[in-house]
């Protein structure tokens, strides 16, 4: 479809303020290399992630969304990340119906010590999304309807099984 050469996926990443942001930070300070495709947005907790943020990211041109938080049981706001888990699972199912592949939404638990793992998982995701290709949502949502000229017949050819021209028939 579109030109795959040089496609750099744009990934919006949400981290919580505690474990997962520190993991990202640690990856940075320890100079672990990972692709620069992720734009991180820090929330206080992954539980703050409104599914709306993910929809906005896609509608606004993101190719993937990363959501990361503390490991289950380690959320700094008790069990908010369990809620995140439920929301993201349900959101993935819903996005599949919109034609958005589940791999474009990644949930990643990372403790403050897991800088290397954070970097590895991000790299993996970037490659997965690269393989899926660009999403370009504005073109999907805003796809133009055909113009008047394009409507001249044959607008839709008959299925291959039929050889005859479309005809209008009186009901007998």
């Amino acid at each position: 479809m579109s030109n795959e050469n040089g496609f750099e996926p744009l990934i919006i990443g949400f981290t919580c303020n505690w474990c997962s942001y520190r993991a990202a930070d640690l990856a940075g300070i320890s100079r672990v290399k990972y692709p620069p495709n992720v734009r991180l947005i820090r929330l206080m907790c992954s539980g703050r992630l409104d599914p709306l943020f993910v929809l906005k990211a896609f509608a606004g041109g993101a190719d993937g969304v990363l959501i990361s938080g503390c490991h289950p049981g380690e959320c700094h706001y008790l069990e908010q990340n369990y809620k995140t888990l439920r929301r993201v699972a349900l959101l993935r199912n819903m996005l599949t119906q919109f034609g958005i592949e589940p791999q474009r939404v990644k949930l990643l638990w990372a403790s403050a010590a897991e800088g290397v793992r954070f970097a590895e998982e991000v790299s993996k995701m970037v490659e997965e999304v690269r393989a899926l290709g660009p999403l370009n949502w504005s073109q999907i949502a805003g796809a133009p309807e055909p113009t008047d000229e394009e409507l001249t017949p044959p607008d839709l050819a008959p299925p291959p099984s039929s050889q005859s021209q479309p005809v209008m028939e009186a009901v007998s």
């Binding site: 709306l52 289950p72 349900l90 119906q97 949502w137 309807e145």
Partner: protein
């Protein structure tokens, strides 16, 4: 007599239910007739489009426009009625936010045509005839409206003054709105600010719902046929999908009161950008799948996936009425709308 304000009601991609409830305002119809002259109302009176084309711009005082924009004729009529009307009201969920017609934004134009004209078991179409926007006959060219790829709401096509939500709107709400309009036209009373959602409340359906709530969570959801609701108790807390928490009030919580979860027809709450996202959050919060520290993370994720899979059609459930107004607006489908069926 000819000095009475002019009323119009039109159906675009509509089921006709909106006109039926409008006629359901009962004897108040006589009052409407006293105040207004009908200028266009295909459901009950014999006007032609040519009549409307002949009116001066702004001739119609109030036009109640129901139905979504599904094809080129709907769009043409929306533009015509906008030009001829002082106040254009998006009437009912279809015109307001796409409603049931816009659910087909989850599929493509080709797939819809194929299902309807070729594959449905009741179809007998051996020649595979599909609707042609133009067709040459001896007498000239016949035209049919062009079926669009994406269904839109009225305000995605023309400027809209007011919105009346509901599928269909409740008759008492329609009457309340008409009274406001009549007061404005006859006594110069103020109209609500342009762009308002009228004929509805501004809290959630839950607030109007008399069923008892206990802040309980559930392990899974049930489809209506799978469970008999316990009378008097909140449906959502019994695992029955209910959009009450994410839907605007105004109907009096009609559905939950008879054991049917709210489907969301009054649209999003004020200030909510995307009803589906809000509904998703509301439903996910009622699920009680939670683990404890040290649980196997993969197992936990599997449990959660099983629990959320009990909502079988999330997109169709959360956006049953608001697909056209959703942030994503439609699904990515394989066929672009200009591809031919092959």
């Amino acid at each position: 007599m000819s000095e009475k304000p002019k009323l119009a009601m039109y159906w675009a991609s509509s089921c006709g239910g909106c006109e039926i409830v409008t006629l359901g305002i009962g004897e108040n119809l006589l009052l409407v007739d006293e105040v207004f002259d009908l200028a266009f109302f295909p459901c009950i009176a014999d006007f032609k489009v040519a009549d409307v084309k002949g009116y001066p711009d702004g001739y119609i005082d109030v036009c109640l426009f129901n139905g979504a924009i599904r094809n080129s004729e709907n769009e043409e009529m929306a533009k015509l009625l906008r030009q001829k009307s002082k106040i254009l009201v998006a009437f009912g969920s279809c015109a307001y936010e796409g409603c049931i017609p816009a659910l087909s934004n989850l599929t493509s134009r080709e797939a819809t045509l194929r299902t309807v004209f070729l594959e449905s078991p009741t179809v007998d179409n051996p020649e595979g005839v599909l609707p042609q926007p133009r067709h040459q006959v001896e007498e000239g060219v016949l035209e049919l409206p062009y079926f669009y790829h994406t269904v839109r709401s009225l305000d995605q096509v023309v400027d809209v003054d007011y919105y009346i939500p509901g599928c269909p709107p409740e008759p008492h709400q329609i009457w309340a709105v008409l009274q406001v309009v009549v007061a404005a036209l006859t006594e110069g009373a103020p109209l609500p600010p342009k762009g308002s959602v009228v004929g509805a409340g501004d809290v959630a359906v839950c607030e109007e719902c008399p069923l008892e709530k206990h802040e309980k969570t559930v392990a899974r959801f049930y489809r209506p046929y799978q469970v008999r609701p316990e009378p008097g108790l909140c449906l959502l807390e019994q695992g029955i999908v209910c959009m009450g928490p994410s839907t605007r009030s105004g109907c009096g919580a009609r559905c939950p009161q008879v054991g049917m979860g709210c489907r969301g027809c009054y649209g999003p709450l004020p200030g909510v950008e995307d009803q589906g996202a809000r509904s998703l959050t509301a439903l996910a919060s009622v699920l009680d799948v939670a683990g404890k520290p040290g649980d196997d993370e993969q197992e936990l994720e599997q449990q959660v996936e099983q629990a959320v899979a009990t909502i079988v059609d999330p997109a169709g459930t959360f956006y049953r009425f608001s697909m056209a107004h959703s942030l994503l607006r439609r699904a990515k489908t394989n066929g672009a709308q200009k591809e031919v069926v092959s």
